[in-house]
Amino acid sequence: MPTKVSSAVMRQGFRVIGVAIKTEPRIFTVAVLASAVYGVMTVAAAWALGWATENVVLPAFRQGTTTGGALTAAGLLIIGVAALKALGVMGRRILAGIMQYRMQAHSRRAVTRQYLRLPISWHHRHPTGQLLSNASSDAEAAWGPLAPLPMAVGVIIMLLAAAVAIVVTDPMLAIVGFLIFPAIALLNLVYQRRLSPLATRAQELRASVSEVAHESFDGALVVKTLGREEAETVRFQARADELRDANIAVGRVRGLFDPLLEALPTLGVLAVLLVGAMRLTSGQVTSGDLIQVAYLFTLLAFPIRALGWVLAELPRSVVGWTRVQEVLDATGSLTYGAERLTGQDPARAEAREVTYGYDPELPVLRGVTFTAEPGRTVAVVGPTGSGKSTLTQLLGRLIDPDAGAVLVDGVDLRELARGEVSGSVALVPQATFLFDDSVRGNITLGAGLPDEQVWAALRLAQADGFISALPEALDTRVGERGATLSGGQRQRLALARALARRPRLLILDDATSSVDPQVEKRILVGLRDQPATVIVVAYRMATIALADEVVYLEQGVVADQGTHEQLLRRCAGYRDLVTAYEREETERAELAELDEIEDEVVA
């Protein structure tokens, strides 16, 4: 992460600014024009005061008389110039904002489009927090320099106009100016260079303080039950103290440079008075000229800092831009063919020698082959980490196999046109996800299904009862900011979403784990009457027992497949897994009998 305004960062930063100018050339031009008006009018304001001093104020004091005309002219000149300047400031600020926010919106839109386009495997590789900040804070940081940019351009115009004005007035006074203003600019540059790494460090520490607090509060139950509050406070206080020291370091640099940056132009004005007085003696300048230049210095002192603001934003901007660009440059979206699925009856699903790995060196699935015949229910069983979830994602084409093929009705999923897979196959993933939307919206997902179809799906998922009890039934808002539903209720809603589409192939990835066993049984029995092929990942014996066939996975390989009874008989690993509880119960009973016998013997 660049922390200093190095020349490489500056070059990159200006390139980012260039992109913005190319994207919004009209707004940028008008913003710069408005800022130019502001710049020129700032110089004109000093000139107007100088003119009023020389032509109205001083003559009046010297001669003891004045005219209404002269006074009116002076007043109107001053106000007129200020009014134009105010218009320039308004235009500059508003247009700079419009440009900055438009660019932010462009980036956000592009980044989120990419999120929707990129395959799930890409999502797996990137933590949620990072993706959220790419679309929010990074997109914001990337275009940060656009806010002070028009002002900075205006300030350059202002300095040029001021240089011309001073040179025209008096070359000697101009020399004072040419010494002072580059000195201010240089001091500003040194300031930003010194401040930038300290400010970055403080920012990082702020994040780390927040991380510790988040973690500690999230783990409050553990902290409390193990009585570690004091130790946690010590841990937090250490970070808070580091942040304190970092902020004080920032303060020291600010405290040094801010007063210096104010003192420098003041010293300039004093120099102007001294040099100007000498020039007055030789008659080279008038008193009005003197006042004009002194006033100009006063007016220029603050805006010149805008150049530093743009530079200060550049490192953050480059970091933000690079992160956004990484998302935009990511490739590997799924490709689609032209085939269509025309069948109406339950689908035939087939995995042929499927191999897949998140890390190609460590495949999660190896040579998996099995077929789910139309209308059959196939249970996928295996210990934690055996690749069951990955298999369901391949069957629903969230990911493509590294080798082998997944077929539905004999067609390779990769040959199918866009929208064909989701038209026939419905996958209910392990983690339930509800949109921040109504119950209806969550089930139809904008597909415009009639309410009867929605209710039918809810009935099948055993969700009609609690949904009709909600205050606004189908219109009740659920999800993040909506009504609170239990884990089992959320799962049933997700199931209804799949069923409402009347899929020909239904894939359930442990999708009823939080549902009460008896309710689950009713759901599964209901599913048997549906015209669909069902592939279900399950732990519970009752679920497995309802399947026509079982595919048993062990470490990414199909260890055995057949009916539940067959596997129970011939596959030791399978038997071990599904009968763990029963065996324990049996053994315990035998132990108890032994104890009783012992007791009797003792007695």
């Binding site: 002076a74 799930i120 570690r228 003696t281």
Partner: protein
């Protein structure tokens, strides 16, 4: 948060806030003196201009010696005031940052003292803000906005004094011009603040929409609803942009007003000054000094709305922090609490009742004595009161009726450190810290060596699992332990509690995510290692209940049955029903007949 905190006035908030961080006051007088000296720097130029014009340039030829001396004296003054500014800044930063670091620590500690009751998931993020964002806001205000207020007031006061020395009439005129702007400032600020509020809301919408596309990516793809999601995101982004531009327009339109007013003041002073000058009430130098003095009014007014905004945010932040600190820790460590000797532990619930504030009762007069060295299983449906029972026993909450005793002593009289040593709970969510496996297990007993940790894992029958980890005890567990599976996290949490070596181990569905084969192994190991202690498990799988000495059955906040498994399963009731339901779920149709029937 107490109502008292919400109603606290701004002044009262600041007063109490300062009392919480005594560092703020340290050396405050010196800092203020330095601030006053720093503001003097602002009027050096007007004075210099006036002196040069009135004294240096009065004669037919400029008095160069006088001008040189005057300019030199002013230059020295400028450097001195800059030095004062530097010293003031350093002192200010040190005092405020030290005070705020203290405030963060106090806030953090107090949040941990609040009972779990006030720490539900939705509020946790908000509590984090109390010790981060809210404090940062106060910090920014003190070092920028608050400083601005002090400097601006000083600047305006000193400029006004100087102006009044030159001419009271013109001073009045200048104030007449600026007063309306000053009075309008709060109105501008409200306008701007409202604009920003809308921006914040719209930004929240964008975050929500974007997070749907990220968190729900699997569902969006599985149902091909990319276009619909894109549309929702676009709407949110557009709403945000419109709100931002609107706020920017408000700021852009109000910002130049003070400069415009300044130009009116300048024009008025030129006209009135000349007229006064004709009467000899004012010199040319004084009039021109006025022109410079007027510029001192511009920046305080320009920054005004933003400073007021910051002040409002900072006070709101302070108020929220005070609100947290004012919330009494409903479960408090007793002063002079009893320290109980270690050893076999007896626990008793005596007519214990509990209800959440303004909520219906969750437990009704529960009485139960748990003798030392017993192995108890607690069962019941979701919401029957099992977890409340556990939270009361570990004193995460206090009962609203009756009492709980440990070895005959009321739980509320036992010192926290003693209680935590004797009773440890393993919650369902095995929360881990972003560190190594060893560090997480050591959380239970900080002085434990690596050998002791390895030994503990071995005693729990987890040696094989440890062996299989790529870096053994050094394995990083990731944020919230997410590099491990949910089941593995539970194993670590269990080892952590076991290492703490309590007299009573309370398991709240502590192995729910572990696969059946491992769970059975673990249950057996636990039976061994908890021998001699009391073990209470809240069971989700009834196999645990069968292994226990006694089963306590909860229903609707009451204990409805209690006894050994074999007895309870034989009699009609809640337990027999639960057991039947569980057996259906875990047993296939072909084998259920043999195990569903209770053995004699």
């Amino acid at each position: 948060m107490s109502m008292q905190a919400l109603e606290r006035s701004a002044l009262e908030t600041v007063r109490q806030g300062i009392r919480l961080s005594p560092e703020f006051r340290k050396g405050l007088a010196g800092t203020l003196v330095l601030a006053a000296l720093a503001t003097v720097g602002k009027i050096i130029v007007p004075i210099a201009v006036q002196q040069v014009i009135d004294k240096g340039l009065q004669g037919p030829t400029p008095d160069l010696a006088f001008i040189r001396n005057a300019v030199l004296a002013c230059a020295v003054a400028v450097l001195l005031t800059a030095l004062a500014g530097y010293l003031m800044n350093v002192r200010l930063y040190r005092a405020t940052e030290s005070g705020l670091a203290t405030l963060r620590g106090k806030g953090f500690r107090h949040v941990h003292d609040l009972s779990v009751l006030t720490q539900n998931t939705e509020r946790r993020g908000a509590l984090v803000s109390r010790v981060t964002g809210d404090v940062d806001q106060i910090s920014t205000f003190m070092q920028w906005g608050g400083l601005m207020i002090i400097l601006a007031v000083g600047q305006l006061a000193i400029a006004t004094v100087l102006m009044a020395v030159y001419s009271w009439q013109l001073t009045l005129l200048v104030w007449l011009c600026f007063l309306p702007v000053m009075l309008a400032l709060p109105r501008f600020q409200r306008l701007v603040a409202r604009g920003y509020t809308v921006v914040r809301e719209r930004t929240g919408d964008v975050l929500a929409a974007v997070s749907e596309s990220v968190v729900g990516s699997a569902v969006i793809r599985a149902y091909g609803s990319e276009d619909r999601t894109a549309e929702r995101i676009d709407q949110a982004i557009d709403g945000q942009r419109r709100a931002q531009v609107r706020a920017q327009k408000i700021v852009g339109l109000t910002f130049p007003i003070s400069e415009l007013v300044a130009s009116i003041a300048l024009a008025a002073v030129v006209v009135a000054g000349v007229l006064l000058g004709l009467d000899g009430d004012i010199t040319a130098g004084e009039l021109i000094a006025f022109l410079f003095l007027i510029t001192l009014f511009i920046s305080p007014l320009q920054m005004g709305t933003e400073v007021l905004n910051e002040a409002q945010n900072a006070i709101a932040g302070w108020r929220r922090i005070l609100g947290v600190l004012d919330t009494p820790a409903d479960v408090a460590d007793p002063e002079d609490g009893v320290v109980l000797p270690r050893g076999p532990i007896a626990v008793a619930f005596e007519e214990v009742g509990f209800h959440y504030p303004e909520g219906p009762p969750v437990l009704h007069e529960v009485s139960a004595a748990i003798p030392p060295r017993s192995r108890i299983a607690v069962v019941g449906e979701t919401g029957s009161g099992k977890t409340t029972f556990a939270k009361l026993l570990t004193r995460l909450m206090d009962p609203t009726g009756g009492r709980i005793t440990v070895d005959g002593v009321d739980l509320r009289q036992v010192r926290f450190s003693s209680l935590r040593e004797r009773i440890v709970m393993v919650p369902q969510d095995g929360f881990l810290f972003d560190s190594t496996l060893a560090e997480n297990i050591r959380f239970g007993r900080p002085e434990a060596t690596d050998e002791e940790i390895t030994a503990a894992l071995g005693e729990l029958g987890l040696a094989d699992w440890l062996e299989g980890l790529p870096y053994g005890l050094r394995t990083p567990v990731g944020q919230r332990g997410e590099s491990l599976s949910a089941g593995e996290r539970q194993l670590v949490a269990l080892a952590r509690a076991y290492l703490a070596d309590p007299d009573l181990l309370l398991l709240d569905e502590a192995t729910s995510a572990v696969d059946p084969a491992t769970e059975v192994r673990l249950a057996r190991a636990l039976e061994g290692v908890t021998r001699g202690r009391t073990a209470i498990s809240i069971a989700h799988r009834l196999s645990t209940a069968e292994a226990a000495d006694e089963v306590i059955v909860f229903e609707h906040g009451r204990i409805v049955q209690r006894g050994p498994h074999a007895e309870l399963v034989a009699e009609p009731g809640v337990y027999a029903d639960l057991h039947a339901s569980w057996t259906t779920a875990t047993t296939s149709a072909t084998t259920s007949a043999s195990s569903a029937t209770p053995r004699p």
